[in-house]
Symmetry: C2
Subunit: 452 residues, 2 copies
């Protein structure tokens, strides 16, 4: 199914643009203006002539231009009428933001709308959703003010999200951490298009490297499994399931009008379909940026390089717990480094360069380990608090990473100084983590994915 | 054992202050100057007359003043001689930063030193450590530059840490998040004073509300269990054990010269001693700030208030997974709020105020739930991205928290705007978390602690 229009429409109409700057339709319209979207934007409000210096039309039918996408933010009792107007105007693609359907018990209203859309072969994202954000085209229907929710830069992560709040907060968080996105889709009640449709579409999207999904219930289990089985061969799908407990499950009914179902059944189905299910949103963000940034590892043998013994030990514990392999440092590398380093350096795995490690030592260690046939992945713990580790450690790591020999992941915990170096590394597509277990959890996802 | 001198000495000598500004002794000395420590500081370097405009003595014995604490940063082969000089000078309390003992196989050197210290009833923090930082007195032997490692403000968290790197990075991280500390102790090889001595001392420290411990091996199991059993009755002890895997365990030997031992045996011993063992450093920081900030809960029934359905559901899942209780919202509260709120608000647990929740609605919901006899703890999810949630939500939460009726914890994920509000809340001692599972894990620690 081609959903290109949703992300790259030329002429868009926003139906239900209030004069009140706090109302959904108004915010969406203003975001189109502020965001510098390339297409033409029209607005409909039967009670206004002009909003933010744009002509307001009484009806979508009054607009002379050909339109290819409608964003609908009218009250729920007017949605069906708006959809009918769109049909008459020849608009087949709708984003319906409006809530007040099955999630509050109005199943009849939603069924009526669904039947109408299906009968007329119209495609709809929503109802009860935030709609979409495309970091490349800048198409943006999120009705959340830009000063509260920063929009991300361009990148390889796409996010399909049943819950608007989950999606938008993660978008905001990931943006503040500097990660880039391709497409964001909040689809709410999935009245007519569902998660499977979006996942299938994103598989073909060249700008998407990794697909993240937050889901409470799958509309059509067989369709979902069929789609994911195919898509996961091309791109990783990382998923968080809300409503894994009976109580949480019950709460999903009033959230997006769907019942979550047994979580063990779900987990088994995810696994069979090649979907990477993670425990929480933090693991999702960590895994997503890792997939977006790193090259494919050749195996699961991890070499740790550290300047803090405790961190090396915690990373080791996490590796063993996750059934990954501690690499065995080759004798060649040991011999080379033994000549260069003082005797208190521990040439093993973890390789502990200890507290007085210099940038040069890191450089030598990293480059030797990149050549070592005994490992597949480098986990570098660089604690920047020590005085001899100069800031050009960042350049050393970036240069090593640019060789594209093996995936390199960084762990560094700390405050402002550490944060500054982290941003620098991540801008160069090297995933950084605060705690060892985070990095190892992300490696686990990557290794499991490429194993299949 | 009284360890007051280590944190509040009047006259301190730093032995081994190099002229080289990158050397440990030099950095320690400069930090004493920059940190504005109240006591008098003397320095020893036999090869210099003057360093940073301070007289440098050839030997500690040349100093005429009475001294009550020595910080030793000389090469390892000179440590014993320095200790002997200290003894002659009447200094009984030493912080020995120097490494190069059992952690690199020099067991003989360390045993010799230990025997000397024990025979002469001298107390020593170290060897192979960072020493201490006291946020109240500002006594600071951390040889990490202040621009790389920010020092924390005063607060109720104390941290006993075998690994200097683990300790210092967490100090840096927690400082950047605005948390306050009482005492920080990095004790390395535990040559003569060990973790149990510090934990016992901190139990009596009125400024310490919660004790954090990172440990790879316990020196004396029986002593540790005896101490913790007593101390945990007075204050929570939160612990991360490094070396829980066989491989990680092996790495501990070269880190602090100790073998970690079987982690299941450790875990059982921790549990018996009332120690709260957490899985990683993130859980430690989360639990520590929660203990430092909140009042004691009366039970384990949690009421969730949210403006994002998905977050409410994930919090519910985490509560159930942790064997905590979802509170049942009382009919009284339902009736009161039903009159005030529109029909799309879900009055249940989670209470979902939905995306157009206002600050006033949060105020009404929080205050009603504080009166509700059916819950013990409020978990408030406030996603600040929505336009109607004004920034004075912070004041509403702070006022409610000031009533000191029930513990209140906040979840809010996002970027800069969210971060700004988070800082505001945490300055007012309300613990904030990015993800629901973090808050619930922290609640779990608190509930388990007070249950016993």
């Amino acid at each position: 199914m081609n959903l290109d229009k949703f992300f790259n429409a030329n002429n868009i109409v926003v139906i239900g643009v209030s004069r009140n700057p706090n109302k959904v339709g108004h915010i969406i319209f203003r975001n189109f203006i502020d965001g510098g979207y390339h297409g033409k934007i029209f607005i409909v409000n039967p009670n206004a002539d002009n909003i933010l210096n744009h002509v307001s039309y009484k009806s979508v039918l009054d607009i002379k231009h050909k339109l290819d996408l409608a964003v609908i933010a009218v009250p729920s009792n007017l949605v069906l009428a708006s959809a009918r107007d769109c049909k008459k105007k020849g608009i087949k693609d709708l984003i319906i933001i409006t809530s007040g359907f099955s999630e509050i018990g109005n199943v009849k209203g939603e069924n009526e709308l669904r039947d109408y859309l299906n009968k007329n072969k119209m495609k709809c994202i929503g109802v009860n959703c935030l709609g979409i954000f495309d970091a490349h085209t800048k198409l943006d229907t999120l009705f959340l003010p830009r000063y509260r929710l920063k929009r991300p830069k361009e990148g390889g992560i796409s996010f399909v999200c049943q819950s608007g709040a989950v999606g938008s907060t993660i978008l905001d968080l990931a943006t503040s951490e500097g990660h880039g996105f391709s497409k964001f889709i909040s689809y709410g009640n999935a009245t007519n298009l569902d998660e499977s449709d979006f996942i299938k579409y994103l598989a073909k999207d060249k700008l998407t490297k990794v697909i993240c999904v937050y889901i409470e219930a799958v509309r059509d289990g067989k369709k979902f499994m069929d789609v994911c089985r195919e898509v996961s061969k091309e791109k990783p799908i990382i998923l968080v399931k809300g409503g894994t407990s009976e109580e949480g499950n019950r709460a999903t009914l009033s959230h997006t009008g769907s019942l979550a179902g047994n979580s063990l059944v779900y987990s088994a189905a995810f696994k069979q379909s090649g979907v990477i299910e993670v425990k929480n949103l933090q693991e999702m963000v960590d895994a997503a940026k890792t997939f977006d940034y790193i090259i494919k590892p050749k195996g699961n043998r991890i070499q740790i390089i550290t300047n803090g013994g405790g961190y090396g030990i915690m990373a080791t514990d996490a590796i063993v717990k996750n059934n990954l392999k501690m690499a065995e440092l080759s004798n060649e590398v040991k011999n080379v480094l033994r000549k260069q380093f003082s005797r208190n350096v521990i040439l093993n795995n973890p390789m502990d360069l200890v507290g007085d490690a210099t940038t040069e030592m890191y450089g030598a260690a990293i480059n030797s380990c990149l050549m070592d046939k005994n490992n597949d992945i480098l986990l570098i713990i660089a604690l920047y608090q020590t005085p001899l580790l100069t800031t050009d450690i960042v350049d050393v790591i970036i240069e090593a990473n640019n060789l594209k020999k093996k995936p390199i992941l960084i762990v560094s915990a700390g405050g402002e100084f550490t944060e500054m170096l982290r941003k620098n590394l991540e801008e160069n597509k090297i995933p950084c983590f605060t705690f060892p277990h985070q990095a190892v959890d992300a490696i686990k996802c990557v290794v499991e994915y490429y194993k299949n």
